[in-house]
Symmetry: C2
Amino acid sequence: MTVNNDLLKERQNATIKSEDFAVWWSGGKDELYKRRALEKLFFDDPQFDDPKDIMNYTHKQLYEYTTAKSTKVIQKLREWYREEQKKQGVRTTSIEDMYLFRSLLSGPLGTGLFQQNFPLRLHFSMFLTALLGQSNEEQCREWLEKAWNMKGIIGTYAQTELGHGTYIRGLETRADYDIEKREFVLNTPTLTAYKWWPGGLGHTANMVILMAQLYIKDKHYGLQPFLVRIRNERTHQPEPGVDVGDVGPKLGVNGVNNGFLGLKNVRIPLKQMLSKHNQVLADGTFVKGPEPVMLYSTMSYVRVNIVKDVSFNLLQAAVIATRYSAIRRQGIESASPKKEIQVLDFLTQQHKVFPQIAKGIFYRLAADYVWELYRSVHKELEQGNKRNLSELHALSCCLKAVCSHEAAKGVETLRKSCGGHGYLNSANFMAIYGSATAACTYEGENTVLLLQTARFLVKYFEEGIRRKYLPKSVVYLRTSGQVKWSLNLETIVKILEYTSLERVKYVFLQQRSFTKAQPDRSAQKGANRAGLILTQTAIMHGKAFLARMSYEEINKQINKGKFNDSLKPVMQQLLHIFILELFLTSLDDILRFNRSITAKEIEQIERLYEEMLLAFRPNAVALVDGFEFHDRVLGSTLGCYDGRAYERLMEEARKCELNQEPVNQVFDTHLKQLLQAKL
Amino acid sequence: MTVNNDLLKERQNATIKSEDFAVWWSGGKDELYKRRALEKLFFDDPQFDDPKDIMNYTHKQLYEYTTAKSTKVIQKLREWYREEQKKQGVRTTSIEDMYLFRSLLSGPLGTGLFQQNFPLRLHFSMFLTALLGQSNEEQCREWLEKAWNMKGIIGTYAQTELGHGTYIRGLETRADYDIEKREFVLNTPTLTAYKWWPGGLGHTANMVILMAQLYIKDKHYGLQPFLVRIRNERTHQPEPGVDVGDVGPKLGVNGVNNGFLGLKNVRIPLKQMLSKHNQVLADGTFVKGPEPVMLYSTMSYVRVNIVKDVSFNLLQAAVIATRYSAIRRQGIESASPKKEIQVLDFLTQQHKVFPQIAKGIFYRLAADYVWELYRSVHKELEQGNKRNLSELHALSCCLKAVCSHEAAKGVETLRKSCGGHGYLNSANFMAIYGSATAACTYEGENTVLLLQTARFLVKYFEEGIRRKYLPKSVVYLRTSGQVKWSLNLETIVKILEYTSLERVKYVFLQQRSFTKAQPDRSAQKGANRAGLILTQTAIMHGKAFLARMSYEEINKQINKGKFNDSLKPVMQQLLHIFILELFLTSLDDILRFNRSITAKEIEQIERLYEEMLLAFRPNAVALVDGFEFHDRVLGSTLGCYDGRAYERLMEEARKCELNQEPVNQVFDTHLKQLLQAKL
């Protein structure tokens, strides 16, 4: 392989070994080798090579190609999985296996195979999880193994409607229980009741878990989950009363076959209401189950995964931009006029690129942190202990909102840092952005999640003094007194926490006075009036948490000896870049609530931040190599390992269908007349 | 026309008349009526109706359709133009006509006809302007009329190369003068020398103005413009030695046929070096002309137009989001549980949408302001007076960078404010974003432009005391002393200016100390080291200018009686929203450099900002109606005048090619096997 000279030099001159970082990033050598072996298995398999002209595919062609390919990928993944089970002497499938499939399909492996996502993903990420989480034992026995093996079943999860997303109580799809026939009659009574958005729903899934308002004898019993066949198992024809299709081309994830679904008097047997929580007896008696606390934690599980996904998206983009910035040259330095300057040497460029690398890393660590929290809360719940459930909920809401927003913004910053060429589809930033920005809206729209977080903060602040126990992430709500200045990360983290505390205090008082000011003293109206500052408060909390978590985590890992002598200072640089950037982008709040910080101190932070960018510069390429994203995972003309960006840009352009003939027919049909027009 | 009930009510309950705003926005009744008549002429013409299934077009199909359509549009536009000339008794074509064409084709009319832009646009916006600006009299006589009438000529402007954009001295394309044959020999000697990006270049243009490094007897004479035929006038085949094609699909403007161009020993006669500024005599003597000051002002002209374009993009998106937010409902209020709340009633939503309306309006006013400046500087230059040239340059750089960045960001904020549906292509945010974000990169990459602005600011600050004359936009650099607090816009504008002044002072001192700290005391290295704070300083200046300009402009218009009693308070609200948002998003700098502002005062600003959002709320729909964007200009399922968003979403989805058959073939070929797999 011919590698671009600039990249060669970058790799030679680095003080770290990419492999060292890769081992840490993967969670150890074993994990790294496993990942490499698995990716090799798939990426070296010629049946998964995309055709040369995939860039010219229509929405329909992309669907057909992606679906066909994904059946082969699933087959192969299963074979691999059975081999693994054999090796480990395991014979049963556990929930961990579902997690594993979900994580493989949405991480580097799945992305390297499907840059625009694929329609079967939802079967694993949502359908199986929901089926497991909402079925009673009998239903599990009947459906779960079949579903896991896709025996006659491709599923998806249908909740969102054309007219309602976030406010799920407003969903209009109805399930009326017909006592005589012991069946539910399903309907989307209005246009806005159409299910809209579920992945794989358009032309792929033949069953859905449908969220619908349950009515028995016209009495409403709230939203319940139903297992509904929408396409015939053998013919794939829509079942009678089913109106289903694709929602059309989108900004991203065009391979995922998001669909719409209308139902007209579709009937399913009684036993297909998923009844882990609530149940309907044959005679129409509604049996309310215990509060579905586990459901809340499931939503947290989904959101943690989103944080992990967007961290990955951000890193994809950061690897592309880092490599391209090392080979792109612009302008000369009067001292060495022979060769132009690498763009990566400009401080302004470093400021665009390096914080994104740091964010990608620390968002993944944050996801790992909340994932551990999820596991421990789950255990606590099984013991009837709910004291950390609200924190899990609030933290996963907050991080999902903050990280998806920042990641999407970061991908765009990185795209623009590549100048015009970032704008080409072949650079692949658009597909990456399409994934990252979608995460701002699905599984809880960000503003709504921030409001939920803020409500939690205000509540815990208000009750803080009386509560014996405060969950870890909000312990700082009990601190008091301004922080004494000192130029180190510990102090900076404390200032961020103090600022967040002051913000919570401020919003608590404001909200109270807003409520008082309402003619009807409505707390709801008061909360709406405080909406803006509430969301800002949740963001500040998220930043404070991210700073604290990353600070403690890196120090813990240093103490455990996880970094060798060459890697340690580089990780320290990244930690500084991450936390100082959090500080500098919170300066409005910090100065507002910490009146004692001086201009000189801010200058010190600014200079330190710049110095860290410059210090990190020599290892940038070697470090991003350590994420070990295969060229197919990046999917970019600009970011390949060999750095031959210009060659690839030209190769891709030549593949464009329009370039297959020197003169397009439109010359003869139209342009010619224009050129000869008599005026 | 059936109009959505919510929109009907919004229009009934407004206190302003949309028409009143429309008159002001269009610059008077005459202008408004003219615009309406012109748009009617085109939008009512059935030959310009797009086919139902245009959403399914490939890149190639879109090119062919767009090019064909654009020839018809140009024909019709010419007919209209000749009619207008007749009416006014004018027979010659002036530079104003070129401006007019440019402005019509990039504004609502052009956008309503071509949502993804079109390949002939560059002929009018760049080719003609450059031809006029760089040709000597003889060349003007020979080419200008032909070019204006497209007699055998479709042109574009080819400067940017695969390997170089912003740093034009690094361009590699060569023009070697062959004295014997009195010809220039044109070459792109490397892969990176390929011209890359010019609109219309791929398959449409048959001539280009080519920027190339001139060599005479191997001596370098800098970058010069050459007029080059690249495709045969009759056959449209690429000329010998010409390698030309489309650069491939992009994030946006996919109708514009951006192209690449390689040249191998292509020869053109001596007289086709455009010689307004410099000339080559037959014997190879290079005659250097006077400094091309007019060229700088031409770049300013291009950048002013970009500010206008992105203001338009932002307003397109704002109209869509405003209307959709009025019909979208989410959640109930306990006081009135019957009907869900309009999303537009949430303060968080108002904060997403209304500042964008204000920005769209005031960015247009800023463009108008700089346009006037451009005209007056042009006149001054003709009289040999250059004292405002630097300001024109700096201001147009700064505003282009600040407004394109904010507009692109704003379009994305608006898209996300529409929830998931904003993600669909049929909502059209993506095409709008594609236009707005491209403007961050072309015609001077934003970071580079900000650095140029900052250099100007530092220079004028440093020389401020000695200079007799300071251009208007930097007069504030001479003020001193902190601003005395008072809760009114005048004070807030002054605080923004004071903050900008302090920032300039800070960066001036820092840059000096950075330079001193370099081992070789290199000013260039010092400037790079100061790069980050330099760009931030330029942004702060841009904000201060925008605040001052809009404050003075609206007050001037009020004093002139341009707003009636119902419109005046609404314009005041928009002005407040605009300036207070500038204040609140600059709070980090404001508090850093104005230590006397109290927490209480910030609260006052925050409350005032929120109150202005709430006050503007009842007129939001009526006001955006007043931009009079035809449904075709918005091109959005979500934003149409009649508010039938859900109906249109469904209609568009049904048009998707994938939905034309109930079962896709991939079921038989692949899915079926997966469903029946033996495990």
